[in-house]
Symmetry: C3
Subunit: 431 residues, 3 copies
């Protein structure tokens, strides 16, 4: 439960808001690289943290990310021409480069030096892991590049998509780090149905209705675990990372033959809309299958679950009731909705654009959520006081998540920390 | 004409508003029984007086009507599972019964008694006349059940539908109790056309352009009449009832072989939207024909005029200009719009979401409207002062409406009161 | 650049606003005459300067323009019956004439004289040039009729259309009087492409990237010119008029065999929407071709570019990204959007509903815009002080625009003024 003031503080991210200032200290994922496929290709509209931007790939391959509005008369540069290393407004031909400088002003006399005094807001970008990232904070505070482990593997070893969600970012984050709901929303059994016992997770789920949640704060956010009792006095542990403010790293399996991680990033478009990134990668030598790379089955597959022509909206959405099948819900699945993340969106969007957290009743298994809120509020304060926020130092470069069977009562963190923090240095060179 | 303050007072019905508090003292019609056809069938979304609710039919057949938002993290219970005598949230499996009590909380440890302290708002329901009613007021003030005469006949003797209207409830009520407009909007003749003289009403309409309106206040609201001059020094009277706050009872005919009553209930969804119920029943022995039961021709027929798949919206609506035919309007009907109640909706919605009553110019034939406003304002005051509102006592159980030809100048109420108040006691047992 | 206060003042036009008061001193174009084709034809909805009106053509041919809301109970008169010299509300049959007087009130007793005290707001109209104009200001201040030269030629010599634009009127005006953008938005060449040298304008465009803009204030607004250098020490001049507050007169050619003028009127529907009129006419003896009359190619052609069945909306609009073709933009045209005025709408709407003019950076070529704002602010003040605004006296009756080649350095206004102000007196008799 939050006070009204705390709820406002955590959910408002526009320019000048405390949470917005915190978020602007991180690299923000925006476009998938293929949205700007070639030098001088058409520009793309971007809305981020309540700001309207336009992105374009210059002739030299570099991506510019500038304010959408031309300095002259406020025409939107989305209609502009992406010409030789600059974006030209089609209204009067003013041209801006990726640094926001006006580099040509053909509507004024050739003798004028007016253009040298004209600039539009522009933000530095970094491209890695098939994603274009932008930094919208103070120039002197720009952190090391966002070399998350999943960005450092070859394309063949990674899958990524993004999708529009119709609610505030915090609902999406809180749904993501809430490992307990997976036993209900995603895998809950209708009366009489049991889980498949051929996997450790299935055996655990048949014993444990809910996971215990444990959280270990770190310098980047926290590591956390969902712990489920198993037969034979063992426990099944899923160990995760939350990297502030919006990153989750999640392990599918610790099978040494095919270890994978996946996760999300939940980025505010504005306070009522969120851009959700979904990624997966293999930590092994073999590439992912095409099916794995496509994120099939999760509700996050581009072109199937995500309508690329409709601004990355979910095909199953509130207006069509997520195509819920009540008969399936009664007899086969807990929700009657197809796709793990479609189920998440349905539930998270059902709270309204911004959930009223003053009316919640939280339990012991909401520990990860409670801790995340506390750490976010603390980070806001740190930045307000002139400090650096957590999670910008490159300590997250080496994180991985995983699953493990441990003896009941053993300390999960001691058992797993060797795995959780031990990746190689990033292949890409930090700037 | 109302002051701005009075107009606000009469039209605002959310929680905590004076009119909202008054309305919450009555049984409120919400769903048609067939919307919850079976025990454990899928739940249904309900919005009423600005509150978001979810309705579900328990295993024991009883209908629960609870706040839409799960106590835990505010997921909407509409996505929930209707299981053994309770609605289970699919997010973390919390289960609530029809009294709003949390009866299962599988996400918390089995030893926890947290669930015993968790509750969601829940409202008592009553089912009669193919309608599910809800009481949203103080528990100690719950009135006798809503045994309107039309609810007490067999299904075969009754027809009922409901429809969404895009404006404030008061416009709908005021349109309903305004008997004068029927000579214009519904039955007005284009120049040169006369009414069919084979009926008393037709003969009256050819003499009287407008009805005189008379109102007799009662303990439940008022009885009122539209009186039209006829040839041969007679008058044609239609006698009605208005039962506070939103019920109308209207008679079709006094033909002793086939007496019928019908009417409406106008219930706020919120301040800009109204749920209109339409009912008809026969007071005679013979059942209604299928055509009569379907409400054919009135603009209220489910599936024909009302799109059940689009949340009971009118098929003819503002976006398609109610399919007005201007040529028909010129030569055949006064409005060019099909269906009596479609005509009503067109006119009532055309005033805007909430009509600006500070600019009205009311005449003598607006007497019923003026009186209703006065009685509503008085009832609001009564409730604010701790009293009981009119129309909750079961005096309305025996009301019926009708039509009669009386000598010109005779007292309509004396002539008709024997009919108007003399039904049998309700068949159903009052609680 | 404007202050926030100035921007508000110039863009807000509802009843009681200073700019709204100024605009209400002019004849306002509303409907094309064919929208009310016959006496007693169906009425038409009109929204103008934030007021909801209904227009109807009386039996005597005269057009009434009255408040949309019936005086009685605020039903919208759009649903009304257009009967013998009056519009009858279908709710209770009250009938109003073009002066707003209630001329029949059949719902009240025949002996009542209530109707004589009932009136709705009504505005005088004038019909000329295939357009119905309305005057919404103080009756004693009604100006001479709007006999613009283009209204005074036979239908065969004129073309006219109108179209809905999704932004504030001032963006549309400022786009219209900004002659400089035509070298970029409308005719800009992709790299490597040159203009056709067979016309003077083409030869000038290949020399001049941008026009010099000069403005000569007059008693009706101003005359202005775009001046482009040409080979051989000559200049190519386009001379225009801006007639306050929303009229533009523009010349296509000075070819004495086929001189034409065209232009626009930009009228606020409300502060977020604008009604744009597009007209063209020939000053010569020969009628226009059907293609010229239809406004083909400009993005203003009724039925092709303008969807008459969708309230005169642009077929190419923001929701379909104006059907921009990025490949065409790269290789053939500057914008990739079809139709000169579709390009204008795309750019003007891209600034948002109301452009934030506090963030502009204006150059020397924005002189016409800067002057127009200054004159509008001055006119607002004049009216507030009890004076008469500019442009209501009939000095604009004789204006025409044109193009001319003059020696470089010559005074454009001296060279052209003989043409610009010398039309005949209007054929139509001023009232």
């Amino acid at each position: 439960m939050l006070t009204r003031e705390e709820n406002e503080l955590l959910t408002r991210t526009g320019p000048g808001t405390p949470m917005g200032e915190l978020m602007r200290r991180y690299w923000i994922p925006t476009l998938l690289s293929w949205e700007l496929p070639d030098p001088d290709c058409p520009p793309v509209e971007v809305r981020l943290l309540g700001e309207d931007l336009v992105a374009f790939r210059q002739t030299d391959g570099r991506v510019g990310m500038v304010s959408a509005y031309c300095a002259h008369r406020r025409a939107n540069l989305f209609w502009g021409r992406n010409e030789e290393n600059g974006l030209r407004c089609v209204y009067h031909g003013w041209k801006f480069d990726a640094d926001g400088r006006c580099v040509d002003m053909p509507s004024e006399p050739a003798t004028s030096n007016f253009k040298d005094r004209v600039q539009i807001p522009a933000y530095p970008t970094h491209e890695t892991g098939d994603v274009i990232w932008v930094y919208m904070g103070p120039p002197t505070k720009q952190p090391a590049p966002p070399l998350f482990p999943w960005t450092q593997v070859p394309d063949t070893h990674r899958g990524i998509s993004k999708i529009w969600q119709d609610c505030n970012w915090l609902q999406a984050l809180e749904g993501g780090i809430d490992t307990v709901h997976s036993n209900f929303l995603h895998g809950g059994r209708p009366p009489g149905l049991k889980y498949d016992e051929s996997t450790a997770r299935g055996r655990a789920n048949n014993v444990s209705r809910a996971a215990d949640v444990e959280v270990v704060p770190t310098d980047y956010g926290y590591s956390y675990a969902g712990i489920r009792s198993m037969p034979d006095d063992m426990s099944f542990v899923r160990g995760y990372h939350w990297v502030m403010p919006w990153n989750q790293i999640r392990g599918y399996t610790i099978d040494p033959g095919h270890p994978k991680n996946d996760g999300h990033m939940w980025v505010p478009i504005d306070d009522n809309n969120t851009l959700v990134f979904n990624w997966t990668y293999t930590l092994g030598e073999e590439p992912l299958s095409e099916r794995e790379r496509s994120l099939a089955g999760s509700g996050n597959q581009l072109g199937v679950d995500i309508d690329i022509h409709d601004n990355f909206r979910s095909v199953r959405n509130r207006t069509n009731k997520y195509l819920i099948d009540r008969q399936v819900q009664k007899t086969q699945t807990f929700s009657g909705i197809n796709g793990t993340n479609t189920q998440d969106r349905a539930i998270q969007e059902s709270m309204g654009a911004i959930a009223d957290r003053t009316l919640e009743r939280l339990g012991t298994t909401d520990r990860a959520i409670i801790t995340a809120r506390r750490l976010l509020l603390k980070a806001v304060k740190t930045v307000e006081d002139g400090g650096d926020p957590p999670g910008i130092a490159p300590s997250y470069y080496r994180l991985r998540a995983g699953e493990k069977i441990i003896p009941k009562g053993a300390n999960w963190f001691e058992e797993m920390k060797g795995w959780l923090f031990s990746l190689e240095e990033p292949a890409e060179q930090a700037v």
